[in-house]
């Protein structure tokens, strides 16, 4: 008996993935912190996160029903951690920044913000709080290693028209990026985060997308130089929507096809505040993208709009969560995705209505269209309802393009490929029309049209 148990233990040891990595050490974290001249509380926060990282198990990403994600190449031994010692900041075009400042919005590099008592207090209060509660190894790693951050502060009563655009140019090494958005009472702002690969030389925009046809070639060249290292981007976005604020945070992720991408976005939504997510997952090799709305204040509302486009061998895990903590809260989640070639995606959506959240409404819908026989998708909507005085619905579909629609388009002379493209274009355009943010539409169209091979110039707008 004893011998058997020992064998079993040995086998278990073999199969349990290792938790610690020789390159991710306390010394490293002290050096990263020192290079940034951080206050002690921040170093302590990093160190406790390292402890959590070392104690928690590697996630296996086995949350699909039929789809099995494969993340074997995710090996933390291959992180180029030394690159984190170099202090970097998030560049915002000077002209743009001046415009935002003129409108009364405060945008500061984390380390600039930490120099001012008021902002240091805010950062201390909110930075990496809610999302770390999940005790996830990957979030813990982020909290231990984060390398650059941005504070966006919208003062009380300040209503920003137009959008605040933040470009994240992500290079091939290692990136742990943070954005903390604090919208004070009665403030209003729309923020668009545009994440793109540095080797995708020109920033994707409406006009330049046609020039980016050599992206794959460029990527391959870079791979040869860095093939031993893991291209890794981790991002944490935290939103504090104070009472009666009205905020939108849009994120467009278009990283290169070698990058492992992890993003954790959390919003705390207070009384009578309205907060909307737009999360578009387009690039990367492997993505795990979470958006979470914590509806803490009565009368708050949230929309969570998700879009994804996966092709070749991309793997996406999309997770949208809405937690209703209190009464009279309304949430709506809507996600649409296309899966082509050998791509795999898993969408998981959760509405959790807690016991005190009476008279609340939760709605979610997710639709995925498979473009090939080898594409795989799971759509898993979940409801957890602890109060009977609520309204909650969910719906989901995974399927092929509607054959009757395809016939209708082909009967008008379009060949099958053109007809399919038009239907997919429409599938996304319908979402863009609903979201109705001009800047976001421009960025997303450029990416979607390029991927589908549609000339943007071929689309006309009759309103003009």
């Amino acid at each position: 008996m004893i011998a058997k148990t020992e064998t079993l233990n040995t086998e278990l040891k073999k199969t349990v993935p290792r938790k610690t990595f020789p390159n991710i050490t306390e010394d490293l974290i002290r050096d990263i912190s020192k290079a940034r001249d951080e206050p002690k509380w921040l170093l302590d926060k990093r160190l406790s996160a390292l402890k959590l990282f070392n104690e928690s198990a590697m996630p296996d990403f086995k949350y699909g029903i039929t789809v099995k994600m494969n993340a074997v190449e995710l090996d933390y031994n291959k992180l180029e951690v030394d690159s984190l010692l170099q202090k970097k900041s998030i560049e915002i075009e000077k002209k743009r920044l001046e415009e935002y400042v003129k409108q009364g919005i405060i945008i500061l590099d984390f380390y600039e913000a930490l120099k001012q008592k008021k902002y240091e207090e805010l950062i201390k209060k909110y930075f990496m709080t809610e999302c770390v509660k999940a005790k996830d190894k990957i979030v813990a790693l982020h909290a231990a290693l984060f390398s650059r951050g941005l504070l966006i502060y919208i003062p009380k009563g300040k209503q920003i028209n137009g959008t605040v655009e933040i470009d994240f140019e992500v290079d091939n090494s290692l990136n742990f990026d943070n954005i903390l958005v604090i919208g004070e009472e009665n403030s209003k702002a729309t923020i668009v985060e545009n994440i793109f690969a540095a080797d995708n030389k020109s920033k994707i925009n409406n006009k330049e997308h046609a020039n980016n046809k050599n992206i794959d070639k460029d990527n391959n060249n870079n791979n040869n130089e860095t093939h031993n290292l893991l291209q890794y981007r981790s991002s944490v976005v935290e939103i504090i929507a104070n009472p009666s604020s009205n905020l939108i945070f849009c994120s467009v992720q278009n990283l290169n096809r070698e990058t492992f991408n992890f993003s954790f976005k959390t919003a705390i939504i207070e009384k009578d505040a309205v907060f909307n997510w737009v999360d578009a997952c387009m690039g990367s090799k492997f993505s795990h993208a979470e958006t979470t709305s914590l509806m803490k204040g009565a009368g708050s509302r949230t929309n969570n709009w998700g879009m994804f486009l996966a092709d070749k061998e991309q793997q996406f895990g999309i997770h949208a969560n809405t937690i209703h903590f209190t009464h009279n809260t309304i949430s709506d989640m809507l996600t649409r995705g296309i899966i082509a070639d050998k791509a795999k995606t898993i969408y998981q959506g959760l509405i959790h209505i807690q016991q005190p959240a009476g008279q609340s409404n939760g709605y979610q819908r997710a639709d995925a269209i498979l473009m090939s026989d080898t594409a795989e998708a799971d759509v898993i909507p979940m409801l957890e309802i602890d109060n009977s005085d609520v309204r909650c619905t969910h719906g989901s579909t995974v399927g092929q393009i509607d054959k009757e629609k395809l016939f209708y388009l082909m009967a008008r002379g379009m060949d099958e490929e053109t007809a399919r493209k038009e239907l997919i274009r429409g599938f996304y355009e319908q979402m863009l029309a609903r979201i109705n943010i001009k800047e976001l539409t421009g960025i997303l169209r450029a990416i979607i049209y390029e991927r589908l091979g549609i000339e943007q110039e071929s689309i006309i707008n009759i309103d003009k």
Partner: protein, 255 residues
């Protein structure tokens, strides 16, 4: 030789035989009304002509301009000048009326039509069909009323200028005023392009405008009678039974 020749066409849908050997010639500049009781195969003929994959051609041929197109896909048929105005047009969410028609026109022509030229065409034809210009930026058929859907179908017809238009119950779901505008629009296109029209209908109303050169009656998937405009009057007043044709109880295959 007629532009469109249908030869001994036998068609089945999901294993059920619907057309039992229909032969029909439809030429350009000619208006043919196709009538028949429910389940007689009128819509099946329309779909089979356009090449719907669910409508299996068991035997027989369809020729356009002498070319056998029986094996061709719907897009190739459209390019050769065939047009079907659907009884229940599909919604195309996210694709505006203007963009849809432009893609269709470019496809049918085989080359891009310059935007200003296209917009002129679009505006003129929308005005002809008394359509609000704002209609052009709405997503095609999404949330359209029955009459709006039919107007949008005829707008496509007017811009694509086919050689033969099959109008499948274009009169259903339209009110009196809309039907008049739509019919007048069809007539204008007909006068301008000399296209041939095969109009499928249950009612005489639309025929008062389109003035068919002949009326064809089909039953049980076969042509059973051919006559002049007056045949439609007789059917309207006396029904198919007067001709010994039974009305089928079975539901129509096309929804």
């Amino acid at each position: 030789m007629a532009f469109l020749e249908i030869r001994e066409l036998e068609v089945s849908v999901e294993g059920k035989k619907i057309l039992n050997g229909i032969s029909l010639d439809i030429d350009t500049n000619q208006v043919t009304a196709l009538m028949g009781p429910n389940g007689s195969g009128k819509s099946t003929l329309a779909y089979a002509l356009m090449g719907h994959p669910k409508y299996k051609i068991d035997s027989g041929k369809i020729l356009i301009n002498g070319e056998d197109i029986t094996e061709l896909g719907p897009d190739e048929r459209a390019k050769r000048g065939l047009f079907l105005s659907f009884q229940h047009p599909q919604e195309v969410p996210g694709v505006s009326v203007s963009n849809f028609i432009r893609t269709a026109l470019n496809s049918v022509k085989g080359k891009p039509v310059p935007v200003p030229e296209f917009l002129k065409l679009l505006r003129e034809n929308m005005a002809m069909l008394k359509m609000d210009p704002a209609f052009a930026s709405r997503f095609l058929n999404e949330g359209f009323s029955g009459g709006e859907k039919k107007r949008a179908e005829i707008l496509q017809l007017a811009i694509l200028e086919p050689k033969i238009a099959v109008l499948d119950e274009t009169d259903s779901g339209t009110d009196v005023d809309a039907l008049r505008v739509i019919s007048e629009g069809i007539n204008k296109v007909h006068e301008k392009t000399k296209m041939g029209i095969l109009v499928i209908t249950h009612y005489k109303r639309i025929l008062n405008y389109l003035k068919p050169d002949r009326v064809i009656i089909i039953a049980k998937g076969k042509v059973v009678m051919e006559g002049s405009h007056e045949l439609a009057d007789t059917i309207e007043t006396k029904g198919y039974k007067a001709f010994g044709i039974e009305d089928y109880e079975e539901a129509q295959v096309i929804k």
